[in-house]
Amino acid sequence: MRSDQPAPLSIKILAGAGLLFLHLPILLIFVYAFTTEDKTYQWPPPGYTLKWLEVTWNRPDVWEALTLSVKVASISTLIAMLLGTLCAAAVSRTRFFGREVVSLLVILPIALPGIITGISLRSAFNIADIPFSFWTIVLGHATFCVVVVYNNAVARFRRLSGSLIEASMDLGANSFQTFRHVILPNISTALLAGGMLAFALSFDEVIVTTFTAGQQATLPIWMLEELVRPRQRPVTNVVAMVVVIVTFVPILLAYYLTRDGDQVAGHSK
């Protein structure tokens, strides 16, 4: 419902207050990245400095965590794009026994609390005697990344008229050529949007990672550890700032790519 009358002042103030409540803390993180005081978060900051940027740049543990996070996010996203697309194609293009069940089971990981996913994966890895490694983290992340890609792809597949595929076949294209020339161009933006969201989700994931990682620390895990054991505290804030920027860009891009149509599902894990 849309009304043409301007909203009353009280509503405007309330809305503004709500937005401030949501976003002011993020701004605080940015401010503390430049404080001169490195033991406690003192307000107002006694002074401002850029030295923490340099300190962060020279800390090898930051780089390790960052590389690990980027690697995990990239590979989970790749796996998710492959499996999510295939699954979406199967569910939306064909009829088979148990189709609705499969559809539900694929979406389930995003509805389940991360802690459940984490615990169950951890015990599964234990039972199967799989040592915790880079790949166990990737597996954990892939469970919810698949959902994001699947949701985006399935919405696009539903809009894709079935006769397009028949028309392509009719004109001499086999299944592979039809996929390459008709299906892929029509679902590519949905895939890209799904992939970006998946990447962003994986990049700042903490809970599932806690249960599936061994000694390795992804960036969010590293930040958690830093907060518990304070040492050059503003470094954490600098990293947080970077994480915000890195996750914000793909989410924004995904939003622009799909705003005229598909919903961007699974925005909040």
């Binding site: 397009l164 028949e166 392509s168 009719d170 004109l171 001499g172 020339h181 161009p185």
Partner: protein, 315 residues
Amino acid sequence: MAIDQVNLDIQPGEFFAMLGPSGSGKTTCLRLIAGFEKPTFGSVHIFGERSDGVPPYRRNVNTVFQDYALFPHLSVLDNVAYGLMIAGEEKSTRSKAADEMLELVSLGGFGHRKPSQLSGGQRQRVALARALINKPKVLLLDEPLGALDLKLREEMQEELKLLQRRLGLTFVFVTHDQSEALSMADRVAVFNEGRVMQVDTPESIYKYPNSTFVANFVGASNIVPAEFVSALTGKACPASLRPEFIQIGYGDGYSATVADINFMGAARRVTVDLEECRLRVLLGVDQEAPRIGDQVKVSWAPENLHLMEQNSGNR
């Protein structure tokens, strides 16, 4: 939709229409020829070749889809050139061929547009050009004019007919519009409930329907009940009597009362009640019209009373 005992023999170069109400199996039949459906029993032969198990992309048959199915991400030119692109033709060759094809359907200069920028009639032509570019032996048309308005539909009917004659191709045309089938086709197959009721030339179908279903579905007709036919001819079967074959006068004939008169533009439809049955009569507007309640005499030439001895009883 299931079809049963459909046995059709379509001649090369023929404009063949499959006519029937929705759900009568005509589209299923078309999809069998295209290869999108597999027959559970029986087979399709295309120019003498048995095509069981041949996928759609290896059949020398192309389809114009009901919703046109133009590729939204490609330009009009690339849509038309799609078949050649898949066949591995050079870009310059296929652009030239596609341009010629667009000329043929009078859409020259529209090549750079996207399908979404075209009107319904234009999209229909693009779909036609795209289906013709691979030089199919048979062109299948699935209710291609269904989405167009009346004026445009009549134009396209003529154009399609001309195109078919010029190219000498076999057209298999699916429609639920009986006037479209009658005016365009060389032969018509009338479908009902998954069966072919009658296959013949439009004129024969119109004049000599073999069942009450065909008589009613193709044009309007009077079904004269078997008892009356028996009294008239001695044969106990229903008969079809076209409204325009009946005369109304005051001399000889069967006594009837005028029940209703409708003015329809080119003609007047007069409903008369005989003792045995109710008949609809089509009178030219130049003829003197009776008034409701008049006692009149109706008559017809005996040969125009078409007996349907094979009537399967489908009504």
